[in-house]
C-alpha cells in the first residue's frame, strides 16, 4: 500500500514536470536511435570481415558475402543438423567454432548483437518466415 502511494506521488510529479511522457519523442531522439543502430550494424560488418574473430584467419564474409545465405528471416527454425529448433545466434556460434576454429560467444555478447544486427540489416525488406527450411 505504501509502495502504491509513493508511485502515485511520483507519477503526479512527472506529469507536472518537464519530463517527456512515454509517447513523446522528438526528431533528435529518432536520429539518436538510428545512429545507435547504424553504429552497431557497422561494428557487426567490421566483425563479419575480421579474420581475428576466430583463430585461423577465416572471416564470416569469406563464405557469406554481404551476409548472404544466412536467411535470418527463417529463424527460429528446426535445424536438422542440431536436432532441435534453434536461433540464429546458435548457428553463428557453430560457424565460430568450426570454419573459424574459434570460441563461441554468449547470446547477449555485444559482438553477437552486432553481428546479428548486421545480418538483419543486409536482409532488410524480406518478409519473416520463421520455421522455413
Amino acid at each position: 500500500m505504501k509502495m502504491i502511494r509513493i508511485l502515485a506521488v511520483a507519477l503526479m510529479g512527472m506529469a507536472f514536470s518537464s519530463v517527456a511522457l512515454a509517447d513523446e519523442f522528438t526528431e533528435s531522439d529518432l536520429k539518436r536511435w538510428q545512429e545507435q543502430f547504424d553504429g552497431v550494424v557497422k561494428q557487426g560488418r567490421s566483425l563479419w570481415t575480421d579474420g581475428k574473430l576466430g583463430t585461423n584467419g577465416v572471416a564470416c564474409a569469406q563464405c557469406h558475402p554481404n551476409a548472404a545465405n544466412t536467411h535470418p528471416e527463417t529463424y527460429p527454425k528446426f535445424q536438422k543438423q542440431l536436432g532441435k529448433v534453434a536461433n540464429l545466434w546458435e548457428m553463428v556460434n557453430w560457424c565460430l567454432r568450426n570454419p573459424l576454429q574459434g570460441q563461441p560467444l554468449e547470446a547477449d555478447d555485444a559482438k553477437m548483437t552486432a553481428m546479428l544486427a548486421y545480418i538483419a540489416w543486409e536482409r532488410r525488406g524480406v518478409k519473416l518466415e520463421p520455421g522455413k527450411h
Binding site: T49, Q62, A68, N69, N98
Partner: protein, 357 residues
Amino acid sequence: MSQTFDRRTFLRNAALGVSASTLPFTLVELAFAKPEDTFTFAYISDSHIQHIKGTQFVRNWDRGLIRAVAETNLLTPKPDFVMFGGDLAQLGNKPELDHGAEMLSKLKGKVYHVMGEHDYYLDLGEYWSKLFGPQYYSFNHKGVHFIVLNSILTYDDWTFNRWPSPEQRMLEMAGLDNPNGSPFMVGDKQREWLRKDLAKVKKSTPIVVFSHSPLQKIYKGWNFWTEDAEQVQALLAPFDKVTVFYGHVHQIQYNQIGNISFTSAMATAWPWPYPQSYAQAEQLLPKLTVQMNRADPFFERDATGWQLIDIHSGRSRVNFNLYNNKGRTVAFDEKTGTPVDSAYQAPESRTPPQAHF
C-alpha cells in the same frame, strides 16, 4: 557418334568404379566427329590456400585441394592435362603459393594455370609467374585452340596509386563484397595480344578460353564481372565454336551468348551463395543456369568440387564432381545451341529445396 560417346562415358565411369559417385571435380570432354579426337581434361579451381602462421594453413581449404588432386590422379583414362583455374592462394603470399604448388605437384601430367585475383594483388603476380610461367598465353591441343587470359586486372589508378601497401591492396581485393574493390578487366594490352593471337586461327577451329572471372557480366558487387567482357566477346564472335570456362564464382553457372558457351567451375575451398540470395542486389544470373541447392555448412565439403571436361566436335561436356552432392553434367546441346544440364532442365525435375535465401 552418340554410341561412341556413351561407350566412352561408360568406360570412364566403370573405371572410376565406386568413387565415381563422389568425385568432386570438373572434368571436361571436348568431343570431335572422329572419336579418336575426343579428349578430356580435368579442371580444378579456387583452392584459396590460407596461411595462418609458420607451417599452419587452414585445414578445411587444404582438404579440398588434396582431395581434388588425389581424385584427378585416379582418373582412367588419364585426362590429357589439368587446368588450374586460379585463386590457388588466399592472400597471394609465398607460403600460400608454395604450399599450393607443392600440393599440385602431386598431379600426374601437364598442369596449366590461370591467374586469380588472390594470387595477384600482393606482388602483381611476380611470385606466381616464377612458379607457373606467363600470365596469359595460348596453345593448341588436338585441333582445339586454347587461350588463357589474366582477366583479373583492374584500373591502374586503383592498382598503383590507391593503397599505402601491397598487403593492404591484397586485402582490399580479397574481400568479395568489399566496396573498396575494383572491377576486373582483361585490359587493352591483353586484348590486343588476343586479337593478334586469334588472327592466326581459322574461323572453323574450336576455341576454348580460360579466364578467372566470368567473361560476362553477372553481378558487379561481387566481381562476378569483367568490365571489358563485351570487347573480349567481340573478338571471339567470328569463330564457329567458342567455349569460355571461368572460376571465381564458386558455384555452377552456365550461359550462352551468341556463339559463346560459358561454364563456370566449382571451388575446392568453399561455395558461394548465388547473387540473388543477397536481397539488396540487382544481378543478372543467366536464366539458363539451374542453380545448386544452398550448401549445408555441416558438410564441410558441400557444394565444393572439381570438373572433368570432355571435348567433342569442339563442344564441351562438363562433369561436375561434387564432394557432398550428386554429380552434375552440363553439356552443349546441338538442338538448343546452349549448354544444358543433363538432369535438371525443367523446374519440375529439380530436387527440393531449390529455393535460395
